[in-house]
Subunit: 333 residues, 4 copies
């Protein structure tokens, strides 16, 4: 459902064109300094309009604290942060109700929720909700750094449309008047050894669980990932180098037996091409039951992967904050 985490528990709510989107973080430790400014950098990184290939829709995206902050510090009570939806143009979407947009959740959502879902702009399924993930990530990153100032969690674009040069990949899409996919990699440095709770809550399990909540993600791999299918065991095994757990190679991506091993945690995700492509498409008109030509208007990213890194960092951060709290390496108070 709409919450994640065992102790540091992130609840997410809101729809693209409703009054607001937001989070309630339950189990947030008390005493963490928190101000609106702390969110600006990551929220800015998530926004469109700042680089080629992203949507011009802009929100102020000012975090408003409804609860859990007092004298600029967290209180230990639930932390509620909302972002108002100001810049919505619902009329764009109303007329498209007959055409469930290909690649979008429109059709399945309507079937699942009996037509009661807020369908405007994708509603609860909109990429708009990733601002909530980013906000939870800002809080989580603070917690991680308080526990270990050396820890870093950085995600970056690995390729767009098969090009490691991002601009080249985006240009492909522009030239084709189409949208395009990409790959994003996340690396966590200085994560302590011993994090992860097998059997079922392995590091890979909980990270992938949360990561697949990010819209458009269709795959995840750790360390050598799918390349391991072609490797021999003697190649893939990372030999232990010292008693701190350092290994000579890192094909495991920093996780063995579901537990962090003290090396860099490394994983990659694939982001499908934005479903809202400028290209004309054939799709079903569910009113008339005929296949018609259709094209998505409105403001959209050509390559949604470009906006994923900060979201991926955020998700990774709150997953790790929860695991470290479980492992009692992050104090609850």
């Amino acid at each position: 459902l709409n919450s994640f985490g065992k102790i540091f528990r992130v609840n997410i709510f809101g729809e693209s064109h409703g009054p607001s989107v937001g989070i309630v973080v339950d189990g947030c430790p008390a005493g963490i300094p928190l101000a609106a400014e702390d969110f600006f950098t990551d929220i800015e990184r998530r926004k469109g309009g700042t680089q080629k290939g992203t949507t011009p829709r802009k929100e102020d995206d000012l975090p408003v604290f409804l609860s859990g902050v007092f004298n600029d510090k967290t209180t230990g009570a639930p932390l509620t942060i909302v972002f108002e939806n100001k810049n919505t143009r619902s009329a764009d979407y109303e007329k498209l109700r007959s055409f469930p947009r290909p690649g979008h959740a429109d059709f399945v959502a309507s079937q699942k929720f009996g037509g009661y879902e807020d369908y405007r702009g994708g509603g609860h399924f909109s990429g708009r909700l990733t601002v909530c993930l980013v906000a939870a990530g800002v809080v989580a990153k603070k917690i991680l750094l308080m526990a270990n100032p050396a820890l870093s969690c950085v995600a970056s674009i690995l390729e767009v449309g098969g090009e490691s040069d991002v601009e080249l990949g985006v240009q492909k899409a522009i030239d084709a008047k189409d949208s395009i996919g990409g790959v994003v990699e996340c690396v966590v440095k200085n994560l302590s050894l011993g994090v992860g709770e097998p059997f079922f809550d392995s590091v890979e399990s909980v990270i992938s669980h949360a990561v697949f909540a990010i819209p458009a993600i269709k795959g995840i791999e750790f360390g050598s990932g799918f390349a391991a299918a072609k490797m021999f065991g003697s190649q893939h095994n990372d030999a232990l180098e010292n008693k701190e757990g350092k290994t000579t190679t890192n094909f495991s991506g920093g996780v063995v037996g579901g537990i962090s091993n003290g090396n860099d945690l490394v994983f990659r995700v694939v982001v499908k091409p934005t479903s809202s492509t400028p290209k004309e498409q054939q799709t079903l008109n569910i009113q008339t039951d005929t296949i018609e030509t259709f094209s998505v208007k409105g403001r959209h990213d050509l390559c949604i992967a470009l906006r994923v890194p900060v979201v991926l960092e955020a998700v990774t951060a709150f997953v790790l904050a929860d695991l470290l709290m479980l492992e009692q390496q992050v104090a609850r108070r």
Copy 2:
């Protein structure tokens, strides 16, 4: 930790060389016919020794019902099934305590659990525990079929060592006197539309969560998966064909917006090469703090991927049973 599922909840316990391994399934509907024979086929499929490249260790693997079955039907109370560990050779492992086996959980487990873990044969991290997953899968498959007799969930080897011909791939490993990785695909047919609980409990989220509990899995992709990174949106979008949700292509792998869309659910996992390779390896002797040459003796699979299909089906089955119960498409009584 060691349980999975919201309503149909699978708890797993046991160690490779302890008295037994087993499951407690909480939330299992009452009235499901269940006998030891129902488990034989899938347990046999999981066993080694039946094909080239798998370990000769054999267990009777007779499921023993400790609770939850009465007059050969489930009662609605917790279902407990144990498998005795009969054929263990602990002495093989005792002497290796100084050498944490590369690629195995030995070292991290020892660090995490303060040396108190049962290290014999990998203990709680052993592949032995997959018999528990298989058992839970047998029960879950029954439930799925009772809800929808047309539903099928079938996993198969896609490639070994880069070869789609399995025997060729295994022969590579034999020739190299090494272990080898592989790719396994799972296809679920006739899954109803509307399954999955976004925001956080998307179909991809919960399946990947459970799948990464299977030892040796290092990646998962749905539908087009990582290939989507190179695709255009107009290619990747699956056009709706009719009001039942059928699409012309299935690049989404049967999931949009985290919800099943009525087409085949398709995903692939990569299985790393067995960590226990016959090849000599360099690794740390943690007693002497020196790098030494080391080789794993004992009985091991050259390609653990060969034993994954039935485990993958099982995990998929109990994840879907839980989602369908949440969706009230499977009766709890």
Copy 3:
């Protein structure tokens, strides 16, 4: 922590003197008609100032929907409702920081949260948060009625200060210039047989869990309750009268073996006297470490029990909504 329920999950947030208090209900079925007006009656019942013995503080207490409602119906996405805190007089409380109010959470909260808690007006521990419970109850009652129009859930004052005549009991407190306790009873009629999930989630277990979240509750008893201690088994046993489960007596309070038995669900709670009594009290000045005479100023209820019935109904309603959803007697869509 701050959420309750397995499927119909109520999250609560806010502090007495912060910007707002509110709820996020996850797992709320789609299609339930919901408007601000639906909340007025129960919110009014909860308010003080309308009867002798309750506080004159009044809030507009207008529910504001932040998410989960579209075209005046629930969408199936998380339902967020907030109540602004308008009428706060924080200055009343600032000066009392040295005197943890006897009977209040001030001291333990400060110790537990390291002094970071919002202490104004009791903060997150304030009775103010019961407006959130009431709001969740309004939604839950609607769901219960849609599942079974004959179901009713009614709580009433049984006694105040030992008097079954409420006004007499309150007058006792007025005469004594003190606050006073009371007993409230809740009766649920036409609850279907078979609700409750033993072993651990018996009807008594989950109701009492939620009920003890209501501030000032110090005890709960079902059916004959504490009187059962003096009864013989032949008296206490409720004889079955017909196959629908009707019993001749109802000493069990409608629950046997943790499961509803088709008779009225009956339980009582004791509400301690309001901690904020007008009487002077001796207490510790934690700044000076001396015992001093202290008296609570400000607006307070003489008998908080008077405001409990609607809250108790609300809590009972959302507990039962969750159990009925688990039992699949309430549709999730």
Copy 4:
């Protein structure tokens, strides 16, 4: 369902006349010394046959460790303990299938589980399962003592049949050829201040949740309990005496605002008279749909309250172990 706790999680399984009953404790810290002998005292205290008014049925009740123990210490993996059911006389129960025993779960269980439940001896609803609670309590008590050697958790009979002299109360039942109820009190000394997780997981909430899982409990009260209904606030408020939280009185029972306040945690439960009374009763024959005279044969306690203290201690212990682990006052490793 059948598990309790957030981190220290107790799963319970088994039926009275099935092969065995048992527990899986997930989240048990590693390194706790554990041997069968550690269980003997508490298991003996729970057994019948040792005092007037309890059943002569005796089990060896030898705990068998199936997992999670290695070299006589816990490993950190799930701890599975089973107790075989050896001394069962199922024939006693088969013939009573037409007569749901008054006061027992027979009828509701049959309705809820569609007749598939194991009805022999009460099946999963049998008091037999309290041996599982006791076992979990033995482990939990060890953990509590390791965290704080001064902590004690002791329950005792307060009254039987209205008599504070237990033997007098039991004699009443013997004279009346009937069963009788009682009250049991539990006192926890030296529990640290700050335990409990409001809003919903107050100390009272989680203790009462677990306590109502014990068969036959019909009420619980903390501190002054129901007597608070007749008290004034100035009487009931416990004045703070020093900065450690010591109060002059303890009407709150050691919990304010849902959080332990450093004083003794005190609560009482009422135990209804044993449903299986030797007295003849009128009840429904569900085969013939007529009211008939019926009497319970077999081995039964006249006063089940006599066996409750050790169970109540056990439940309290594992609830507190979980809360202290959440509060990070008990190390997970």
